[in-house]
């Protein structure tokens, strides 16, 4: 191909980074924090480049038609520090997290791949413990780890180990769960208390001591979703709560579904010790990370049935009906506080940062 000045210019324009370079010439931690900067990166750089109808739906998993059946596919990378924390470890997280993303589109998880990025010098015993934890987690969720990859990087260039897992699951005919199905009048159900994972990790990482040991909520969600689907509950949208917490999940759903969501603060369950830690650190539990909770949006007629099924799976912290989907097309999440006044829930820039006083 001959490259003349004109076409060369056009080509270069086509390759220009869509995020203004003068604003973010370097990647910031906030670009992975589950907030507005991450969303900007995904939409302006990844979606713009990889543009296709499946990706553009921005669901937790991609649902793919293969001949007459539907497969769900998702991927996630795990970089948690410390590798072991109260209530879980990087291995169980890497299995449950990916299985949960499959479950959120109603899929039955079947297979996982695993990619290990190991730092030179990592103790073999640590790796063994993580692998055993993955084995147990895979057995518990009924998935098989069927392919993998191992890379070792130089000492000092990683945090011990990183794990990537990719999952494949089967979506039964007739199941269609996603923001596009959200309807006004639907109820918003949260599967239990919120904010435990983020606070448990922060407590260990920063050496914060509380009277009790906070445990992560890290747990698999495929079984409960399977039972919900099989019971005939009409699930409109599911989303597991991860970085950015309950607030980010609801804001994303509202944005994708183009539907206003209204929730009540007093209906949301937050454990006493999580609340206490959030008060001390100046964090809002609505934005703190979770690893074993999900939000379900469904017609009111099925809410009681759904609630009793979820309660059976998570008896220690019952599900809560926290709000409803309102009439209209405005992508906005509002919260009614204890005084009955309303405020808008806003997507944070990145992760919440503890404050001075």
């Amino acid at each position: 191909m001959t490259l003349n000045i004109e076409s060369g210019k056009n080509t270069l324009e086509g390759l220009q980074c869509p995020i203004p370079l003068q604003e973010y010439p370097k990647v910031l931690l906030a670009h992975g924090g589950g907030g507005r900067l991450m969303r900007q990166l995904i939409e302006k750089m990844f979606l713009a480049s990889f543009d296709n109808p499946t990706l553009n739906l921005m669901n937790d998993s991609a649902v793919l038609k293969v001949d007459s059946s539907s497969l769900a596919m998702t991927t996630d990378s795990y970089v948690v520090q410390p590798l072991f924390f109260p209530g879980g470890d990087i291995g169980s997280l890497a299995v449950f997290g990916t299985v949960n993303d499959l479950a959120m589109c109603g899929a039955e998880p079947l297979y996982l791949s695993v990619g290990f990025i190991l730092e030179e010098g990592l103790s073999m015993e640590t790796l063994w413990q993580v692998v055993q934890s993955m084995k147990t987690a895979a057995q518990r969720t009924g998935v098989q780890i069927v392919t993998g990859d191992t890379k070792v990087i130089d000492t000092g260039t990683g945090d011990g180990m990183y794990i990537n897992t990719t999952g494949i699951g089967k979506v039964k005919p007739g199941i269609n769960i996603g923001p596009a199905q959200v309807r006004s009048g639907d109820v918003v159900l949260v599967s239990g208390d919120i904010g435990r994972h983020g606070i448990a990790i922060m407590a260990v990482r920063e050496g914060l001591q509380f009277e009790t040991t906070l445990e992560s909520d890290c747990a698999p969600l495929a079984e409960v979703v399977k039972e919900l689907v099989e019971s005939g509950v009409e699930l409109h949208c599911l989303r597991d709560l991860t970085r950015g917490g309950l607030a980010a999940a609801l804001i994303e759903i509202s944005h994708s579904a183009k539907a206003p969501i209204h929730i009540r603060e007093k209906s949301i369950s937050v454990q006493e010790d999580v609340r206490g830690a959030c008060e001390i650190l100046g964090l809002d539990p609505l934005y703190v990370a979770n690893e074993g909770r999900f939000v379900a949006i469904l017609p009111e007629k099925d809410s009681e049935k759904a609630r009793s099924i979820i309660q059976k799976h998570f008896p220690e912290s019952p599900p809560r009906m926290i709000g409803t989907v309102k009439e209209g097309t405005e992508p906005i999440v509002t919260l009614e506080n204890f005084l009955g006044s309303h405020r808008v829930l806003d997507l944070p820039s990145g992760e919440q940062l503890p404050r001075i006083c």
């Binding site: 604003e23 370097k26 990647v27 910031l28 931690l29 906030a30 507005r36 900067l37 969303r39 900007q40 302006k44 920063e206 914060l208 804001i251 944005h255 006493e272 609340r275 206490g276 008060e279 650190l281 100046g282 405005e330 992508p331 906005i332 506080n337 204890f338 005084l339 009955g340 006044s341 309303h342 405020r343 808008v344 806003d346 997507l347 944070p348 820039s349 919440q352 940062l353 503890p354 404050r355 001075i356 006083c357």
Partner: protein, 369 residues
């Protein structure tokens, strides 16, 4: 958490709102000094519970917001200095310096550590003897005792690679600046409860004599603030001017003498530059001559870069209570938490951040870039 829940009780909040309505007969303007109180007011919509006669204006009590850009540039330069770790609370990370913020300096490989306490920074210094560890000591009188303790301990333990980049400010001179401004409409103040927990309120009594204005030591929960407003309006209606204490569960007139002694041992009162508000006499704390070795600004001087406070940022007027964030033409347009023109948009105690986060009333600018 009973201790907090009883101060977030809807019945009690409405009781005080009604009580204010019952006693008010004319318009009054009350300023809450502390940014933490501003956030409580905006988050819970407390101003919407008040009768029309009572106007709240937001004060300068956001230490991050008033830290001069030159000091932020200094902190960033230290973070980028070889073999140096700059330790800071999370609040400072996104505050814009002249060319970048601390998070960007971190992304560029700068030594930035987010800590929860100055004592954490001291531990980092102990664990990294080959690095210079600088703690960015920002705050009002509230954080001064802990920062003083870190310096005291560093001296006791002979930790020589530890120092403070000090940006401490004091509340009373800022209140006096507002009271002496001809533009100010403020007729009563809610004082910051945590500052008074340390300092007590004796040092505010001369202000009462001079300006004949009520001051109410107030806490941070919704019921605290509504009760504080009631106590302030009650004085205004009765023509009284006293310091009264709403925050009785935490504050005594004398304050915390031990904490004050520690502050006086390590710090001395100096004039200080406030971002957007200018130089205010006796408004800051700096290290005393005996502890001057711990002053990072002296130990590691940097060449000042010409700094420009953006002309379309009205943070000075916001901090003095002359304007509210939504009266700024840049608010939510050219100034957002991602692209802040001034610190009040990114500090967790900043009034602009509170309005942006809780008050974007029906607009969907939260998902626009």
């Amino acid at each position: 958490m009973k201790y907090l829940d009883e101060f977030r009780n809807a019945g009690a909040a409405r009781y005080w709102a009604k009580a204010i309505e019952r006693i008010v007969t004319q318009p009054w303007t009350v300023m809450e000094v502390c940014g933490g109180q501003t956030h409580t007011i905006v988050k819970h919509g407390l101003d919407q519970l008040l009768p029309d006669e009572v106007t709240l204006v937001h004060g300068p009590g956001c230490p991050v917001c008033v830290t001069p850009v030159e000091l932020i540039d200094h902190a960033i330069a230290l973070a980028l200095r070889p073999k140096t770790l700059l330790c800071s609370f999370g609040d400072m990370m996104r505050v814009p310096g002249t060319e970048r913020d601390l998070l960007s300096a971190k992304a560029e490989g700068g030594g930035v550590r987010l800590v929860y306490s100055p004592m954490d920074a001291l531990d980092i210094a102990k664990a990294n003897p080959d690095q210079e560890v600088v703690f960015f000591a920002v705050g009002f009188e509230t954080t001064a005792p802990a920062n003083a303790m870190a310096v005291y301990q560093a001296r006791q333990q002979e930790i020589r690679n530890f120092s403070l980049l000090v940006s401490h400010v004091r509340v009373p001179p800022a209140i006096e600046l507002i009271l002496s401004s001809p533009q100010s409409r403020v007729q009563g103040f809610l004082l910051a409860g945590h500052v008074c927990a340390i300092m007590g309120w004796e040092e505010y009594e001369p202000l009462i004599q001079k300006y004949k204005i009520p001051l109410v030591v107030t806490g941070f929960e919704p019921v605290d603030i509504l009760q504080g407003i009631y106590m302030c309006v009650e004085q205004l209606e009765q023509g009284r001017a006293e310091v009264t204490n709403q925050y009785v569960r935490a504050v005594k007139r004398a304050g915390n003498r031990h904490a004050q002694e520690l502050i006086q041992k390590i710090f001395q009162i100096i004039p200080r530059q406030w971002r957007g508000m200018g130089n205010i006499a006796e408004s800051g704390l700096g290290l005393t001559p005996a502890y001057i070795d711990f002053d990072a600004a002296r130990r590691f001087p940097v060449k000042a870069i010409p700094c420009n406070n953006p002309s379309d940022c009205i943070s000075g007027e916001i901090l003095l209570g002359l304007k509210k964030p939504d009266q700024c033409s840049s608010f939510g347009t050219t100034c957002t938490p991602e692209k802040p023109l001034g610190a009040p948009m990114v500090s967790s105690e900043g009034a602009c951040a509170a309005y942006y986060r809780y008050r974007n009333n029906g607009s969907t600018h939260d998902l626009k870039y």
